[in-house]
Symmetry: D2
Subunit: 188 residues, 4 copies
């Protein structure tokens, strides 16, 4: 299968402590479950304008710093906006964030990232399915604290897979990848 016929996924992250990088790798693992050859996992130091332009779908992760995106990640987007804004509408996008604590702003940081992504005209989403008991990524994948838990890992994998599914379904027209064929959701 040639690259043009499979969805191209970019997992873009900034990490201070290594925990957001861990999340990025799990998101990429989930995305790779559909097609491993078209997933790029890059830090903001590694990624270029071309990587953003290349992808069909993107997952963006930042540490939660003061309840918001880290300045380094914001700088990345502010700096590329001159080249890309208004030219890359319609990509499919989601977000993830690691905080010092639950209740410390990881959901708010995911939202902050989604707002930035919507500004570029991207279609943003969260995952309805639960990743574990009482754990989900309805607005992006979240983590908190010094070490990552199993459920945080599962939520990242689920998010990455969902991104790949939406891209396969919508960008590549592969109906069989619609998540309805595997959804097992709990009542809200």
């Amino acid at each position: 299968m040639e690259e043009s016929s499979v969805a191209k996924i970019l997992v873009l992250y900034h990490s201070n402590s290594g925990r957001t990088k861990n999340m990025a790798q799990w998101v990429a693992q989930g995305a790779s479950s559909l097609n491993e050859h078209t997933v790029r996992t890059l830090s903001i130091e590694q990624a270029t304008v071309n990587d953003i332009d290349w992808c069909d779908g993107i997952s963006v992760g930042s540490p939660t710093n003061l309840g918001a995106v880290a300045w380094q990640m914001k700088q990345f987007w502010d700096n590329i906006s001159h080249d890309l804004w208004g030219k890359i509408d319609g990509k499919i996008a989601c977000s993830f964030s690691s905080a010092g604590s639950y209740g410390g702003g990881n959901e708010l940081t995911c939202l902050n990232l989604l707002i930035i992504l919507m500004n570029f005209g991207f279609l943003t989403f969260g995952v309805t399915d639960y990743a574990a008991e009482a754990f989900s990524s309805h607005y992006g994948a979240i983590a908190a604290g010094e070490s990552n838990s199993q459920e945080e890992q599962a939520a990242c994998i689920l998010l990455g897979k969902r991104l790949a599914q939406w891209c396969a379904y919508y960008v590549n027209g592969q109906d069989e990848h619609h998540p309805r064929y595997e959804c097992k959701v709990e009542a809200v």
Copy 2:
């Protein structure tokens, strides 16, 4: 052309003063510019679970009440969640809101609506293109004050058209409807 081959758009609104209803009609007008026969414009009193289930794309509008969605619109979604949540993932969605004043929370209400729509697994978006000088609907279409201006009307029409375009492009695979073929955007 049969209905199954064109995107089905629902414009759902609640209106107290009539201004959000005006916005709904302009959003529907924009959506109808692609195909008028598959656009439904319904208040929350008229719409049923079946209308939500029917559509490929949805635009939801509420008055800005206290910087947030009107309780009546929230009640509508809370009440249908038992029947539909987890079963309708992947629809394409956007929002609009009318406030008493600029700076009075219409953007925040659009965001409130997008969060509710993301909870259902919808892919949410705003419009990069400017509707008029210094007027856009990057996070949904906004209005404020007693009467609606030309630029507010233009922003609603643009939002509805963009919704129809994304649905045509992504849901129906009609590449010619990608907005890149008509985008004229200003620098951020």
Copy 3:
């Protein structure tokens, strides 16, 4: 000590499953640690316009329904806005919310509540101090899942106490109640 010289705290909640009610009682417990005689804990069925008017500080709790405030709580505020909006500016306010899952929108619902409270001119806050390891209420107290954990309880108590402290310090001029005299915070 007469009532006029101590801060008057209202804990206002709506609860579907009982978990938000549990949180309300813990928030009230924290607030009562300064003065138990001036704390009212009321559901939206019990509270009236007079209770809102009476209090110096308020903590408002709602279930997380679709990542946002429950319609019943929104209805409460929409309905009283005619009587009170513009007349009760300057009260001190915070929020709390219980969700089905972590990552399911409890932070976003706290924010939704804070936005509503800011609309009335209230001064809104979260708590910097950690309630437990990797658990805080920086934007309001959060909980998730079927049963409430020790750390969720601790976060509620801390939030209620902080509300009482800010009211004692700012409304009643009791400098000794500034939290700096007991803060033990971790680095962000």
Copy 4:
């Protein structure tokens, strides 16, 4: 009157085009209407940790870049958090932002700033009073477009004055400065 008995206000801003700087000067003008000698207006290049520590109340302004705070302003707060976080709780805070367009994210950027300020334990607020017909700063003062309008100016002045009023009332115990003695608000 010595400095210790009047509220100390910091207006902190970052500006790319000069419009956010204009807003900062109007916010400072409003704050100065209570006491001109204790208002500092500083860009992030000028301000230090000591200025943040000094003030009783702060108003923070940023351009709206991609619907969020400019990276430079975020960098300022991220960098000082090591020195100040957990030590400056309880200051009174508000925000302002200038965007390319209405509907372009200026309310969302004000919210982004308020979230950052709440993270430091600040008490955040907006202004209920209308600054002009259909124009308010319920969640911070907003502006958009190439030039600033009269109503945008009025909203900034009102915000700055309200900040000084809350600080005079709460920090310095000057009851006569409570805005209720001059409020003229319209129905929501």
